[in-house]
């Protein structure tokens, strides 16, 4: 296939048929809403609403984790990054995958055994309840917010491609629609409904990407080398080896190390991933879910490698850059190139569903954290009146939904893989040190936890605020101003070690030990699963 034909076909990237696009997406919304309604019939207690009654099996939950994790950033962002920057885009997916080993080996089972609904349950187990819960809820909300922004930015970009809406007002309306749909899912369905949406979406996304992968490989005679050759012919030899995006200067190389650190250590600190471990009945099922998630996620990232290079070879980096939605439009444009408007509609609907599902997962996590950790445990001292906790969670869902809509409108046009990388940096700096310390280090105390969480969170956000992401570069969020002095885009290389050091320093600088009886209880329970929360029967 000659490059000329490709360019001609994609020359009009206001692609596809908006009516078809909307009807396929509408069908997805209708089907999932029915599932959510059916799933929500048993939502009575807090355990039902936050943890789906702990009734999912390992494979189901693993698929849902993959659904939660394979966000629009993974699909659109990584495909686009590979299509344009070649090998450097591939590096994202490796970090995202290897990170799961941290979750599998060090975090998942121990968290499941000691917690109830949220990350804060584990962190405050043997430390002072009030302050630690408040800190954990703060970091949870911060990570969820960054992640939500990324998803919302993705929604806007996708829509501009699908419906040919390029003006900000039109995109803003679509972001609002996504937000409202998400609020409905989470309000009605709780964790059970949200989990089913994740499962359906994960299956559709992986199947869709799988079909396109086979298709792209078939065009190139099922020979990876031929595909790489075609991508290199159109994009230059540089796409096949590292360095195109991050190899330019010493600073950009350092930035890449910072990113790699944030990616590999961020996953096990993502609150919406951690919360999924509570939807299964036992630690063994939590382990099985992570195993399923690792296989599904790994498989998917292998697909994105082919799709990214496929988009580079069949669509071309220049066409992708010029399309509405920019880098993020590589995967939809490839779908159009392969299967015309119908495949484009299907893939776009899947991508849209992806955003919707991830946003729903983030929202329920943030709502659970606020109502369970802040309202029920801190404000009401662990004794909320019956039913109030879930009620507060529902109100929080609406508030977060509105904030996400406003924020999403604000960040239109940002690269989403990159925004997600920031969320990972915050998670790795603020959450992971405290999680690891409280599970493995007996000497760890309340002061260490607070220093680590607030210090990690504060330094990550502070450095982002004074980085080229926010001001002083072509793609900065605030144009026309330059108050940046931190040279890196990703704060991880500073803020993650800082989080760990502060946790250690805070702990050793104080002589008072936390209650050794509770510390012993936590250790025994985390390793044996004794007294872990059981599934509820309906």
């Amino acid at each position: 296939m000659s490059a000329g034909v490709v360019l001609a076909a994609a020359a009009d990237p206001g692609v596809g048929n908006p009516v078809l696009n909307i009807s396929i997406f509408g069908a997805f919304v209708a089907v999932t809403l029915i599932v959510v309604l059916r799933a929500s019939r048993n939502n009575k207690t807090a355990a039902d609403y936050y943890a789906a009654g702990r009734s999912f099996t390992g494979p189901q939950n693993g698929t849902a984790i993959a659904g939660d994790y394979l966000s629009a950033a993974s699909f659109l962002g990584i495909c686009g990054a590979i299509a344009i920057n070649g090998y450097d885009g591939f590096l994202y997916s490796i970090g995202f995958l290897v990170a799961w080993l941290v979750a599998l080996l060090l975090v998942a089972e121990l968290m499941r055994n000691t917690g109830k609904f949220t990350m804060a349950d584990v962190l405050s187990f043997r430390l002072k309840q009030g302050p630690v819960r408040l800190a954990a809820a703060t970091t949870t909300l911060a990570v969820c917010f960054f992640y939500l922004l990324a998803q919302m930015a993705g929604a806007g970009g996708l829509v501009s491609l699908l419906l040919g809406i390029n003006d900000r007002v039109g995109q803003s309306v679509v972001i609002a629609v996504v937000g409202i749909l998400m609020i409905i899912y989470v309000l009605v369905g709780g964790m059970k409904g949200t989990t089913w949406v994740q499962i359906i979406k994960a299956v559709l996304l992986i199947a869709g990407a799988g079909i396109m992968t086979v298709w792209v490989l078939a065009i190139h005679g099922f020979n990876l080398s031929t595909l790489l050759g075609a991508a290199a012919e159109l994009g230059g030899e540089g796409v096949l080896s590292p360095g195109l995006q991050y190899g330019l200067t010493d600073l950009s190389r350092l930035d890449f190390i910072s990113l790699a650190l944030a990616l590999v250590l961020g996953t096990a600190g993502l609150p919406h991933v951690l919360m999924r471990f509570y939807t299964v009945p036992t630690a063994k099922e939590a382990r099985r879910s992570v195993v399923w998630a690792i296989w599904l996620i790994g498989l998917f990232y292998l697909f994105t490698l082919v799709l990214g290079y496929g988009a580079g070879a069949l669509v071309g980096a220049d066409t992708i850059r010029a399309a509405p939605g920019g880098v993020n439009s590589a995967a939809p444009l490839l779908a159009f190139e392969l299967g015309g408007p119908v495949l484009l509609s299907i893939i776009s609907a899947v991508a849209f569903a992806t955003i919707l599902a991830v946003v729903a997962g983030l929202t329920i996590t943030a709502a659970a954290s606020f109502s369970h950790d802040v309202y029920a445990s801190v404000i009401k001292k662990g004794k909320p009146s019956p039913g109030m906790e879930v009620k507060v969670a529902r109100i929080t869902v609406v508030v977060i939904g509105i904030l996400a809509i406003i924020g999403g409108i604000g960040v239109q046009g940002q690269n989403i893989a990159f925004l997600v990388a920031l969320a990972f940096a915050v998670a790795a700096s603020a959450n992971l040190p405290t999680i690891i310390y409280s599970l493995f280090w007996k000497r760890f105390n309340t002061r260490g936890a607070l220093w680590s969480m607030y210090g990690g969170l504060g330094s990550a956000i502070f450095l982002i605020a004074f980085s080229p992401v926010v001001s002083g570069s072509e793609t900065a969020m605030i144009q026309g101003a330059d108050f940046s002095w931190f040279p890196l885009n990703n704060p991880g290389i500073v803020s993650i070690p800082l989080g760990f050091i502060l946790g250690w320093l805070g702990s050793i600088s104080q002589r008072t030990l936390e209650n050794p009886v509770i510390a012993a209880e936590m250790e025994v329970r985390s390793l044996t699963g004794h007294g872990a929360e059981k599934a509820t029967d309906h």
């Binding site: 090998y87 080993l101 080896s241 590292p242 190389r253 590999v264 063994k284 292998l302 025994v524």
Partner: protein
């Protein structure tokens, strides 16, 4: 109890967890868990960062072609996938065979103690 903090569940704890902690089977479980997860975690992180540094600073080396257009960089990257899948499988079989039986044994003992106090 459903909304109380986790460790406040039993009003009067019937199990002396500090004693459980010093029992030989628990000591063995803890040792077997940590002696697996710590070295493996250090190992895969070292391999990951070695790969990251190569990709970051050794472009020429990574661009060395091996088969057709497939170069060392791509093979090492795919190697990260292979090692991740392999470690996952290894850990699961280790946990199922070595950790789970001891954990189940201790859980059984603790439940017996609790049942006796009801």
């Amino acid at each position: 109890m459903s909304n109380a903090a986790p460790h406040s569940t039993p009003a009067t704890p019937v199990i002396d967890y500090q004693q459980v902690e010093s029992k030989p089977n628990f000591v063995a479980l803890k040792k077997k868990h940590r002696s697996f997860v710590f070295p493996v975690a250090i190992g895969f992180l070292a391999w990951y960062f070695a790969y990251v540094l190569l990709a970051d600073y050794a472009h020429e080396f990574m661009a060395t072609p091996v088969i057709g257009n497939i170069n060392i960089g791509l093979l090492l990257g795919l190697g990260q996938f292979v090692s991740t899948f392999a470690i996952t499988t290894w850990y699961v079989s280790y946990a199922n065979r070595t950790l789970d039986p001891i954990a189940a044994e201790i859980r059984g003992e603790l439940e017996t103690i609790e049942a006796a106090h009801k």
